[in-house]
C-alpha cells in the first residue's frame, strides 16, 4: 500500500483506511459481536474469557481491558465499533467522543453547546493554508 496520504496531516484524526482496517480486523470483529445481547452478557460476566475467543494482539487486548478509547483507534479500532463497547458500558456517543479528546465530560458537552470545536487551527498539523 502507498505510504503517505493526503489526509495524514489532519490533526487528531484516524482515517479508517486499509492500513488501520487490516491491523484492526480482529479487534473490530470482536467489537461487532457486542451487537448481540447474549454476547454482551457473556462479555460482562467474564471479559477475559470472552476476549480469549478472538485473536487480538497484546496492545489491542490491553486497550480494551483498560477502556483506552484513543488507544483503540491507534491499534486499528473504528469508532463505530468501539462505540459498541462504550454502549455496553452505558456510555453515550458524546461520552465516547469526549473521552478520546482528554477533555472532561462537562467541558466537552459545553464545547458542543458553544458551537463545537472550531475548524480554525484544526485543519492541519502543518502551516494553515485553508
Amino acid at each position: 500500500m502507498p505510504g503517505r496520504r493526503d489526509y495524514d496531516d489532519i490533526p487528531g484524526t484516524y482515517v479508517f483506511d486499509g492500513r488501520r482496517s487490516r491491523r484492526g480486523y480482529p479487534l473490530n470483529t470482536f467489537l461487532m459481536t457486542l451487537n448481540d445481547a447474549g454476547n454482551r452478557e457473556a462479555f460482562r460476566a467474564d471479559e477475559q474469557a470472552y476476549l480469549d475467543r478472538f485473536p487480538l494482539d497484546a496492545e489491542q487486548r490491553e486497550a480494551v481491558v483498560e477502556r483506552d478509547w484513543l488507544r483503540m483507534l491507534e491499534v486499528g479500532g473504528n469508532v463505530y465499533y468501539t462505540y459498541k463497547l462504550a454502549a455496553c458500558d452505558g456510555m453515550t456517543f458524546q461520552d465516547l467522543a469526549g473521552q478520546q479528546t482528554g477533555m472532561a465530560r462537562e467541558a466537552f458537552a459545553q464545547m458542543m453547546l458553544d458551537g463545537g470545536r472550531p475548524i480554525e487551527g484544526n485543519r492541519t498539523t502543518g502551516p494553515e493554508t485553508g
Binding site: Y25, A37, N78, A97, T101, G115, G116, I119, G130
Partner: protein
C-alpha cells in the same frame, strides 16, 4: 410511471432517535432542534409518498468488515430494527418495496452501477432516525422504504461524483417503473461532525452552509469535492455528506428549496435538514 416528488437531506444522529423514543424532544436541549423540523414534517405529510428510497450507511450493524459493499440495495419485504449494541430502537419494522427494489437493481446494474443485492438485513439508526425525524412516532411507517446503503465507514467511500451519478441513474430507473407510486429520495448523514480522535467535536458551519448552497444551486460543482476536503473541513464522519449527492442526483437540475434547517449541536453534530422539490 412512478414519480420522484422530492428529496430530503437529513442527518442521522443516534441521540435524535433516543430523544424521540424517550419522549424528551420538548426538553430545553432538544426543543430548538425539533421546532425546526416541523415544516419538513408538514411537507412530508402533504406529499404523502408511497415509497421512500433511503440512502444511508450501515454502522457495523448489518455489515461488518468481512464483506464491505460500496453500494447495496435492500430487496426484502421487511427490515427489522437492528440491535446496534444497546438493544433495537422501539420503532416499527421497515416495510420494503420488493417490486421497485428489484426494478432498481436491474435498471441500475444494467446502467453500470454494480450494486450488492441484499435479501435479509436489519436496519440501524442511519435509516430509522431520518424516518423518525420526518414521520415522528407512527404505529406503522406511512410508506414503503427501499434502503440503499453506501459504505462510508471503511475508507474510501465512493466519490461524491459517483454518488451524484448514481442518483441520476435512480431518477432514470424510477421514471421507467411501471407503477403510479410517488417516490421521495432521502440522502442521510452529515453534516460536519467528527466522533473520533483528539479532534472529536469538530463543527464547520461555514463549510456546511456552502455545501448546502452548492447542493441546491450547483450540484455538479459540489460533486467534485475531493474526499480529503470533507475529512479536513467537515470532520472524519462529515464525509457522510456524499450520500446527500445521491439524493440530489435523483432530482432535476432545477429544484425548489422547500425547507432548510440547521442546528448545533445535536450530540456531536451540526445537524442538517433540507427538503427539495423538482421545479
Amino acid at each position: 410511471m412512478a414519480r420522484l416528488v422530492g428529496g430530503v437531506g437529513c442527518s442521522h444522529v443516534p441521540a435524535v432517535g433516543v430523544a424521540i423514543d424517550k419522549g424528551t424532544t420538548g426538553d430545553p436541549y432538544w426543543a430548538p432542534y425539533f421546532t425546526k423540523v416541523v415544516p419538513a414534517r408538514e411537507w412530508m405529510a402533504e406529499v404523502d409518498p408511497d415509497v421512500c428510497i433511503v440512502v444511508y450507511n450501515d454502522h457495523a450493524s448489518a455489515f461488518g468488515l468481512d464483506v464491505i459493499p460500496t453500494f447495496a440495495l435492500g430487496l426484502a419485504d421487511a427490515f427489522p430494527p437492528a440491535d446496534e449494541g444497546y438493544g433495537p430502537r422501539p420503532v416499527p419494522p421497515v416495510l420494503g418495496h420488493p417490486e421497485l427494489a428489484w426494478h432498481l437493481a436491474e435498471s441500475l446494474i444494467l446502467d453500470e452501477f454494480d450494486l450488492t443485492l441484499v435479501n435479509e438485513m436489519p436496519v440501524d439508526h442511519g435509516l430509522t432516525v431520518p424516518l423518525s425525524v420526518m414521520f415522528g412516532q407512527p404505529e406503522a411507517w406511512p410508506c414503503r422504504v427501499v434502503p440503499l446503503l453506501v459504505n462510508v465507514v471503511q475508507y474510501p467511500p465512493p466519490t461524491g461524483h459517483r454518488c451524484y451519478r448514481l442518483g441520476q441513474a435512480i431518477a432514470r430507473a424510477v421514471a421507467a417503473f411501471e407503477g403510479d407510486e410517488k417516490v421521495v429520495v432521502f440522502g442521510t448523514g452529515g453534516m460536519s461532525h467528527q466522533l473520533q480522535g483528539q479532534r472529536a467535536g469538530l463543527v464547520n458551519v461555514e463549510f456546511d452552509t456552502a455545501f448546502l448552497d452548492g447542493l441546491v444551486a450547483d450540484p455538479e460543482a459540489v460533486a467534485r469535492i475531493p474526499h480529503v476536503e470533507y475529512l479536513r473541513e467537515a470532520g472524519s464522519e462529515g464525509i457522510e455528506l456524499v450520500m446527500w449527492l445521491v439524493m440530489r442526483g435523483a432530482l432535476p437540475t432545477a429544484v425548489r428549496e422547500v425547507h432548510r434547517a440547521t442546528h448545533v449541536p445535536t450530540s456531536n453534530t451540526h445537524n442538517g435538514l433540507l427538503v427539495l422539490e423538482p421545479r
